[in-house]
């Protein structure tokens, strides 16, 4: 679209800027702006240690947002993130209580539980044709119910295994936190899948028009189901890492990740209607959200103010570039 309208200011810009998505550029511009504002507030804001710490915190959200992005690209949404995160964390910690085998299988078991939740979502959306918003809310409620029954309504006493703690807080490469490495690996895999495989092209195709994708001979329902299962698994993996970070699981640990995950994906320029968006944008969105959270907490903004600013920022940015076309 924009390439046909070269001219004026856009024509004189370097090629890579002209080709980039305006949403992604806006998100990166906002990151620079936030860094600038933060550096006015505190000298240490631009220090490498602090920025690396932010990147580490961002990687948990980044992993969860990766799954969310896959689902949003399909034109669906996954509202079961809160309890997928908590279930992954709790089940991984619970498995650790069952001897050495349990410890070894803790991480896969946590991810497996998240994938089960995602699988139910996927079957509901793809085969039963239930609106994703509704079925994922329902599975979220069921997962919550299961966890409440399992834990007796309190935060579980089991603690994270050493492997989980190492993945979340250790340093395999000196200076780079493991969590960031994991996010980078998952992100690279996601970019590869989205841009280089048939599955990725299908995801974009379904997001644009599922009917057309189906008529081109693609088993769209299977792709949708797999995407939801992957999203559930990634949410649970994020939960496993969070449990490693805090060294135990907690009841409502996932609540704080639903809105940021959706916001990160959407602020990164992925269309909520599906079919359009790049992983680079999601990365920008995740960093943007994390920096915003960090600045608000450095300013000692109370929870109430944070929620308000959050909501307002998301609505404002969406109004800038996330609007649907007018009906004519």
């Amino acid at each position: 679209m924009s390439e046909t309208a070269i001219g004026g200011i856009a024509g004189r810009m370097p090629k890579f800027i002209r080709r980039a998505d305006p949403a992604v550029l806006t998100a990166f511009a906002c990151i620079v702006l936030l860094l600038f504002v933060g550096s006015l507030y505190s000298r240490s804001f631009l220090s490498p240690e602090y920025l690396l710490q932010q990147l580490k915190v961002a990687s948990f959200l980044g992993i969860i947002a990766t799954g969310m992005m896959l689902v949003i690209l399909l034109g669906q949404i996954d509202l079961s993130v809160p309890w997928s995160v908590a279930a992954g964390a709790m089940m991984a910690c619970a498995a650790a209580a069952y001897g050495p085998v349990g410890v070894a299988l803790a991480i896969p078991f946590g991810i497996f539980c998240g994938m089960l939740i995602g699988l139910v979502n996927g079957i509901g959306v793809a085969y039963l044709r239930i609106p994703s918003m509704i079925i994922t809310l329902a599975t979220n409620a069921v997962a919550q119910g299961l966890m409440v029954v399992y834990t007796g309504g309190f935060s579980p006493q089991d603690s994270a295994t050493r492997a989980m703690r190492y993945l979340a807080t250790g340093f395999a490469i000196p200076g780079v936190p493991n969590a960031v490495v994991i996010w980078a690996l998952i992100g690279a895999a996601m970019v590869f899948v989205l841009t280089r495989t048939g599955f990725g092209r299908t995801v974009y195709g379904i997001g644009n028009r599922e009917r057309a994708a189906y008529l081109s001979g693609i088993d769209t329902r299977r792709v949708v189901m797999i995407a939801f299962a992957v999203s559930g698994g990634l949410s649970a993996f994020g939960g496993v890492l969070l449990a490693g970070y805090a060294s135990k699981a907690a009841q409502s640990m996932g609540d704080a990740y639903l809105l940021p995950a959706i916001a990160a994906v959407v602020l990164g320029g992925t269309s909520i209607l599906g079919g359009r968006g790049s992983y680079l944008g999601t990365v920008a969105g995740v960093i943007l959200i994390t920096l915003l959270q960090s600045i608000l907490s450095v300013m000692q903004m109370p929870e109430a103010g944070r929620q308000i600013i959050y909501g307002v920022v998301i609505v404002a940015m969406l109004l800038l570039y996330g609007r649907a076309p007018a009906s004519r």
């Binding site: 949404i77 509901g124 039963l128 044709r129 239930i130 609106p131 918003m133 509704i134 079925i135 809310l137 329902a138 599975t139 979220n140 409620a141 069921v142 997962a143 919550q144 119910g145 299961l146 409440v148 029954v149 007796g152 309504g153 599922e210 009917r211 189906y214 008529l215 769209t220 409502s252 609540d255 639903l258 809105l259 959706i262 916001a263 959407v266 909520i272 209607l273 109370p302 929870e303 109430a304 103010g305 944070r306 929620q307 308000i308 600013i309 959050y310 909501g311 307002v312 998301i314 609505v315 969406l318 109004l319 996330g322 609007r323 649907a324 076309p325 007018a326 009906s327």
Partner: protein, 326 residues
Amino acid sequence: MRDWRYWLAEQRGTLLAFGIFIMMFIIYTSNHPAGFTANVVQTASNKGVLLAFVAMAQTLVVITAGIDLSVGMIFLLTNCLASWLVIGTGIETAFGVFAVLGTGLLCGAINGAIVIYGRLQPIVATIATGAVYFGIALLLRPFPGGSVNEDLADALTGRLFGVVPASLVVLMAVVLVVWVPFSRSVLGRAAYAAGSSEMAAYMSGVPIRRGKFAAYALAGLLAAIGGLFLTFFTYTGEAAYASGNAYTLFSIAAVVLGGVSLFGGKGSAIGAIFGALAFRTIGDLLFVFDFDPLWQPLFQGVILLIAVSLGAFALFRVRNRLEWFL
């Protein structure tokens, strides 16, 4: 001659919800230790009415093929506001009630403006505004507290003539004052038409924007009435995130149980009310049968899952496979 058939087809969802509710309520009262007494009915109706108001609010938006994930938060916000304002002399209390209702209407109108004139997707927009409303609620009540005009509260949550629960009377009054005029007005028809087929409605010159806007705004008002009632029951205001989320979730469950189509254009608020009452009664069945309350969230979640899966039966009627994909 065949008018009743059309009426029956139109009201099928509502009648089904009514049937489910009556069945569940009979099971509930017949197993209740106290039996079918005015007290049991009053408690049940007080609990049910809260959800019924929120479910009505959700219905209005769902009819336009949208969704309002901020109803629970508007409910909390108005609860917190009412715990400050609805107190004092008669005039002060009246002013407080109007202020609370006005706030709800404003919240709904903001949602509507963002969704319709801002052209954002209802899901994301209302999640974001819900965060804002929750933030404001938390500002108003960082800790649970406050108070309310207890005379008014007791009058509206008590019984009329010793038998009829006053909250049910208020619910019926709201249906008569808000829902019936709206659903029969041009705006109400426009909301239905927009939910059924926005393009066709637009082409026919139906005022879809105004209709949808009215639906969102009135949804805020109804959620505020719910919030007001919550204050009357609890005498306090509390900004509990989990409670707001639960009400949003249950409102969707009630709407589905009440036969309102999530794809828009079909169903009525009356159905959603029975859906809400049925959902509450099913949730409370656990207590009558002496289950551990720990199982309640799971039980309600499973009911919700079953309720939404029932919609899948429509797939068997689909002749052309392409109709799977909307």
